[in-house]
């Protein structure tokens, strides 16, 4: 399947607090149409930051080549997906994209089925 230009929404995206727009809730390193990617050059998992990213309703993938055992568990506990190298990152994003597209197709088919049923 592969990733395309249309998959990228933006990089370094500021996310304001909805209750106080002057306050930044978090920042997204890479925002895709079907996932959020957090790039971590250090070893700190920053679960607090991950918690906020989970609110987008999109899968959060953390690219952290140097994460140790503790940080890997923290990423897992935060409900995010840890990837350790560029190949695993691309492979994981491919899988998430395929799953998102399959869900979208299913929804479209359900809508068509409902429409057909309604017209009958």
């Amino acid at each position: 399947m592969g990733l395309g230009e249309g998959d990228l929404v933006d990089v370094q995206v500021d996310v304001p607090n909805p209750d106080n727009p002057g306050e930044l809730s978090t920042e997204l390193d890479i925002q895709l149409t079907f996932a959020v990617v957090e790039v971590k050059s250090g070893t700190n998992a920053l679960t607090h930051s991950l918690d906020k990213k989970q609110k987008f309703g999109l899968p959060v993938v953390v690219y952290a080549p140097r994460a140790n055992g503790l940080q890997q568990r923290q990423i897992f506990n935060a409900g995010a997906i840890w990837v350790w190298d560029i190949n695993s990152l691309l492979g994981t994003l491919d899988q998430i994209k395929a799953a998102a597209e399959a869900r979208a197709k299913k929804k479209t088919k359900e809508k068509i089925d409902i429409n057909i049923t309604y017209q009958q």
């Binding site: 370094q12 500021d14 607090n17 106080n20 002057g22 306050e23 930044l24 978090t26 920042e27 390193d29 957090e38 971590k40 050059s41 250090g42 070893t43 700190n44 920053l46 607090h48 930051s49 140097r66 140790n68 055992g69 503790l70 568990r73 923290q74 506990n77």
Partner: protein, 130 residues
């Protein structure tokens, strides 16, 4: 966004930290019991996330002491400083960290962020020589 950890022996709350930073001229944008935000020039933004020892998970966090700068039984507050991914935010983060070290005393682990560690060293050197 990336971050580093600061270890304090005191039990600190967000307002304690915000007060010190505001008094030093930092623009504190938000403060809660466990969270402080600081804004700097050129869209720089820094988050401080505070955890007391009792809030840390003994099995998950405290058992992994090999990466800790301080024995867990001496820890009062752990602050993770996170910064937006740009030079201005990195500069702001090290200035905030330095002010907290000066006021409260703290140990820092850079968690592999060698660029920030170098920046902090340069900032200290400049302060001493000026």
């Amino acid at each position: 966004m990336d971050g580093f950890r600061m270890y304090f022996s005191q039990d600190l709350r967000g307002p304690d930290v915000a007060k010190v930073l505001s008094a030093a001229g930092f623009n504190v944008n938000a403060q809660r019991s466990r969270e402080v935000h600081v804004v700097g020039p050129a869209n720089a933004y820094v988050w401080l996330d505070l955890s007391s020892r009792s809030e840390l998970d003994p099995a998950e966090d405290i058992s992994q002491t090999e990466s800790w700068a301080m024995p867990p039984n001496q820890l009062g507050t752990l602050i993770v400083i996170m910064a937006k991914s740009n030079d201005e935010a990195s500069q702001l983060a090290v200035r905030v960290a330095r002010r907290l070290v000066e006021h409260f005393g703290a140990l820092i682990t850079w968690d592999g962020l060698f660029g920030l560690e170098r920046l902090y060293g340069e900032f200290n050197t400049n302060r001493r020589s000026s």
